[in-house]
Symmetry: C2
């Protein structure tokens, strides 16, 4: 390679760096003999973030030679040489003068740019030339350490340190990951649907997962795709693998919510339920054999691979502390189970923003009573069936309230369409009918009656509450009795927030709130205990955003259910859009997946209308968001701008949300944003 | 009955009439002997509207006696007596003085109230007392005649005449109805889903309907419920009867659109497809036997019942002419076929506001090519299949353009999800696979791939155009070639309006418009003919209303697709809401069925936003509505207030819309509204 070409590349880079037309510049040569050299250096270690010079150089060479890897480069410092046990002499030894000058430059550049620098240099006939400097790329670990160190060194302030970390990058710290040194045999690739790595025995159905997990086995649930009936198996499994479905499939969304590793849509896998086997090319894996999935990379790996646990102390904790001092938005978690709630608190959640109650009806002991309720012909029959569920549901809430120790807990009343609780396969229908002691034909008829063309827009949410008031009455009673019981046991007041889903009109909410208030009054009278509670609603139907002023007259809080609001505002079914979303992203019609980052121009516009009108209806209305977007940094910036009070997200995204909320507050105050 | 009680009733009525507290009033008695009497009278004939006094009276009686029907009342006038051939003497004969005084009162009251009066009177000892007067109820026929006559008599002006007629009441004039004198044996009741009465032979599937209709038979299609695959049978049948589904079911909506009588959800009927029989209690009707349905009353009647045809001339035509002079809104029709288009013109439509093109793919000759396209693996395969449909579709458009004779025609590009074009039942799948020469398994696989959880929010509308651009390219070519051909034949310019459905973002429309424009350029070059056309979009996704300014930069017109906009804005599936809509109406959560009358607070708010923002994006943007709401008088009032340019509705609702539009214009100008 000729010096001309080299120089051209340098000019090109400089040009890019300066953002102007090509400029003419003197050329220097690192290949003029033994007193010439070229190298790249970092002012700190880009892998660990430690404050020590780091880099490589080659004597009598040009920049390309370092990059090309033809000759083995030499270490920059004696310390590096010793650390790696290499035999080649360090620059510090062979060119001490140039090295000393380089060190001075390092300090000057860091002081000027207030960030770790990635520097290209050349030595020509003993004289040092700096070709380029820029902020250096680094691992998340290094980024945290550098930001905290620099703040402590006084190079930057704490706000700048907070602003420097990409919130999304924290995700790789929060989950166990594969030991990078362990060998692995990848047998299939899918989508990295929920981060973290985990090994376990393969099971092909939810019941096996639950049974084996109960006997202490680590299992991975492997399904073509999952449905709400698999929830108990997903809870029991350590990770989930599917051969079909995208990043927003049921498996992916639920796994992320549970903070469990998940690989989705691994299309190369053939899953044969009957033979209880999965095959990937020539490799066959039977039920009970061990595999590993890496949900951060979408890999399916044969056998067990050791994993490394996340560390949440040290620089991470320091920086999160600084972030917490800066943020205005509160951060809650979407948590349905005691396990979720504990994880949420460990990650610093300040409450539960969304506790879905439907999983409480799917557990084996309850699903029979639930089906009995669905098959009942009248309110009395439904009430009798619900009475069986009440004590179990009350116990669920007591546990949640105790774990949350007085922090706010928002509980959403039953939301999914009833047909989700009925079996669908003919064999299963007969089995369930036998178990429930009803006629198989009656069960089939009821299931057919409940079937819907567009369940997303059907009989669900508060519409269930309007048609079958006894369901919400039972749930309200379970919540209030649990709040009183938990307060008695802990001596700490519990103020539950009852959230009514799918409201589209103020009259709908007024009617349901009246029933909830009546139950509260009964419970207060029966128990002789005081009880404070709030009633609010999820804003997830476009009409509700327009009617927010009227609705707010009956609601103490709004929580934006941006998953469903996105589906309705964009006319886009999350379960069906995988077929065309990719094309929409490729062609730039959508800038981002609207189920990951809030569509600010559409859904965001509705949220803004609802905030403005809602506050007009009730000036102290509490506003939050509990869709998956609540854990997305870009969305959190929007939430700060429109003045929400809190965001709520998957427990594992709580730290991301805390940092993003701090950055959003800093951005609002005019402080620099994170570098990209 | 005592005079006291009578007086109480009168006071009560007077109180109602005056809207104030009960007042004290002198009592008069019609039962004081032969010189006393009581009666009710109308200043014109409430049945025909003719200007002749009409009424009944009883000598020596009180008001209740007339109403109770215990004694046979006597006619008011000699003319009435002669017309009915009765033997009892008329009041004109037995109480000539009181009658003469009554006539004077009639004229004075009509002149004062400027409307036909319904009067209660009593004669006590030869002296006339008027107990009450109010505007009289009348048939629609009478209402039209009275309004036109009074305007011509100078009692009211033409605007008042226009304002007097309830637009919805016209519906009973526009369809054939059962001869009121004919006997009928009603065997079941269902919902009055689409007005009009018709008799025909029972058929149980669409193919039989088509075959028998082709051989000149009048048939009624009887199904448990209908789906888009039944369209050809619905076109062929004279009426539709279903045992399941509500006022907004597929059968009801399509039948109204076609202007065919339809009775829906006649749940007492058991329909047995295998035995080709329907039974209602003990009555069995086999395929080929004749029944009659009355879609205005929801009746299913055994055998044929004679019907009476509507008359659209005379007072109706006069009043519609006056209405047309007053209205600002243009009225178009939703018309998919030549038959629809002809009906639309007959009823005074000023263009087609929505021509759906999907039915053009369902006809037998085309569905094979359509399925071939769906099964094709690539764009070339799809183009080859579409090339077979092109000449047929072009011919459809030529015919429509010719019928419409230069009036604007808005053609919506393909909208429904592709799975609607595939067979669903296993047997049918195999038959279709054999006919199409493809593998049954491949067809099943493709059908399974295309299946959707929420088809309303799935791969349909312009999303098909983004994924498979060749579909819209074929359709644009068919439209443009047809426009040129029709213009050549008729010598009259045709300017088609190409409507892109389900747009949610400006970039989506920009991309599709570019492809349409490219096809237009090609057609112009190939034909050497000039071609003017417009490209616009349906606004039916909530996000589109918020992005209207950006979208309008690429659209020459917006047509509000309020059916889907209602479904998405309210989160309410039209196919699924029957289960709970009734309860919502009963409990007053909804004031009206939102699929019949536009939900102004929600959907209307979005329409207003879209109008305002759309005009900001393009000041001369043409705005219309083409959902079923376009024919609803209350909605038309809203359309006038927000300044739409046109409404488009079912052909049979065009006169209703014309009158409602005139009343809306009068209301906007401050003229009195119609009495209720």
């Amino acid at each position: 390679m000729t010096p001309r070409a080299v120089t051209y590349r340098r000019l090109h880079e400089i040009d890019n760096a300066m953002g102007t037309a090509v400029t003419v510049q003197a050329m220097v040569f690192g290949n003029r003999g033994e007193r010439s050299a070229t190298g790249v250096a970092f002012t700190r270690d880009p892998s660990t973030g430690e404050k020590r010079y780091y880099g490589e150089f080659l004597v009598n060479a040009q920049g390309e030679d370092v990059v090309a890897g033809i000759r083995t480069p030499q270490p920059l410092t004696i310390a590096m040489k010793e650390a790696t046990g290499g035999s080649l002499p360090a620059m510090e030894e062979v060119m001490p003068d140039a090295f000393a000058e380089l060190v001075t430059v390092f300090d000057r550049l860091e002081a000027h740019y207030r960030d770790m620098q990635d520097i290209e240099f050349t030595v020509q006939d003993g004289r040092l030339w700096i070709l380029q400097t820029r902020s250096g790329k680094r691992t998340t670990h290094a980024a945290l350490k550098i930001a905290v160190d620099m703040a402590e060194e006084g190079l930057i302030d704490r706000d700048q340190a907070v602003a420097r970390i990409d919130p999304a990058s924290l995700d790789q710290l929060l989950h166990p990951r594969l030991d990078p040194d362990a060998p692995k045999q990848v047998i299939a690739k899918g989508l990295p649907a929920s981060p973290g790595a985990v090994s376990g025995k393969v099971v092909f159905n939810a019941d096996d997962a639950e049974r084996m997990a109960a006997s202490g086995e680590a299992v991975l649930l492997v399904r073509v795709e999952t449905s709400p009936e698999d929830i108990h198996g997903m809870h029991a499994a350590r990770g989930i693998l599917t051969s079909r479905g995208g990043m927003t499939s049921h498996a992916a969304v639920v796994a992320r919510g549970m903070g469990k590793p998940c690989v989705c849509g691994a299309g190369e896998l053939a899953i044969d339920y009957r033979r209880a086997r999965l095959s990937a090319g020539k490799i066959d894996v039977a039920a009970g054999e061990v595999i590993t999935i890496d949900g951060s990379r979408g890999e399916v790996i044969l056998g067990a691979v050791p994993t490394v646990d996340p560390k949440l102390s040290g620089d991470f904790a320091t920086l999160m502390g600084w972030a917490d001092e800066r943020r205005r938005l509160r951060v809650r978690a979407n948590a349905d189970t005691p396990g979720d709630a504990r994880t949420a608190r460990r990650f610093g959640a300040e409450g539960i923003g969304l506790c879905r109650t439907e999983h409480m009806f799917f557990e084996e002991a309850r699903i029979l009573a639930m089906r009995e309720m669905i098959l009942a012909g009248d309110g009395d029959g439904r009430r009798a069936a619900l009475a069986k569920i009440l004590p179990m549901q009350r116990q669920d809430f007591i546990e949640l309230f105790e774990i949350m120790g007085g922090l706010p807990v928002t509980i959403r009343l039953l939301d999914p369409p009833l047909h989700e609780f009925l079996p669908h396969e003919p064999e299963e229908i007969d089995a369930v009918a036998r178990a429930a002691g009803v006629d198989g034909a009656a069960l089939r008829r009821r299931a057919a009656e409940l079937q819907e063309v567009n369940p997303m827009l059907g009989l669900r949410g508060c519409r269930l509450g309007v048609l079958f008031p006894e369901i919400y009455e039972m749930q309200a009673r379970a919540i209030f009795e649990a709040a009183i019981a938990a307060a008695e046991r802990s001596g700490r007041a519990v103020e539950p927030e009852v959230m009514v889903p799918l409201i589209s009109d103020a009259r709908e909410l007024a009617m349901i709130k009246q029933a909830i208030d009546a139950v509260a009054k009964e419970v207060i009278t029966e128990s002789g205990q005081p009880l404070a509670y709030q009633v609010g609603t999820m804003i997830e139907i476009p009409r509700a955003t327009l009617q927010a002023a009227e609705i707010a007259e009956h609601a103490e809080f709004f929580s934006f259910g941006t998953n469903d609001l996105t589906q309705m505002a964009l006319g886009l079914s999350r379960d069906d859009c995988a077929k065309f979303l990719e094309r929409y992203l490729q062609q730039g019609i959508f800038e981002a997946d609207p189920f990951t980052t809030l569509d600010i121009a559409g859904v965001g516009a509705l949220v803004e209308i609802a905030c403005e009108r809602g506050r007009r209806g009730r000036s102290d209305l509490k506003l939050g968001i509990c869709g998956e977007h609540g854990g997305d940094p870009a969305t959190i910036g929007f939430c700060e701008r429109v003045g929400l009070d809190y965001v709520s997200c998957s427990p594992y995204r709580v730290p991301i949300a805390r940092l993003a909320a701090a950055q959003a507050a800093l951005a609002a105050a005019g402080t620099e944003a994170a570098p990209d």
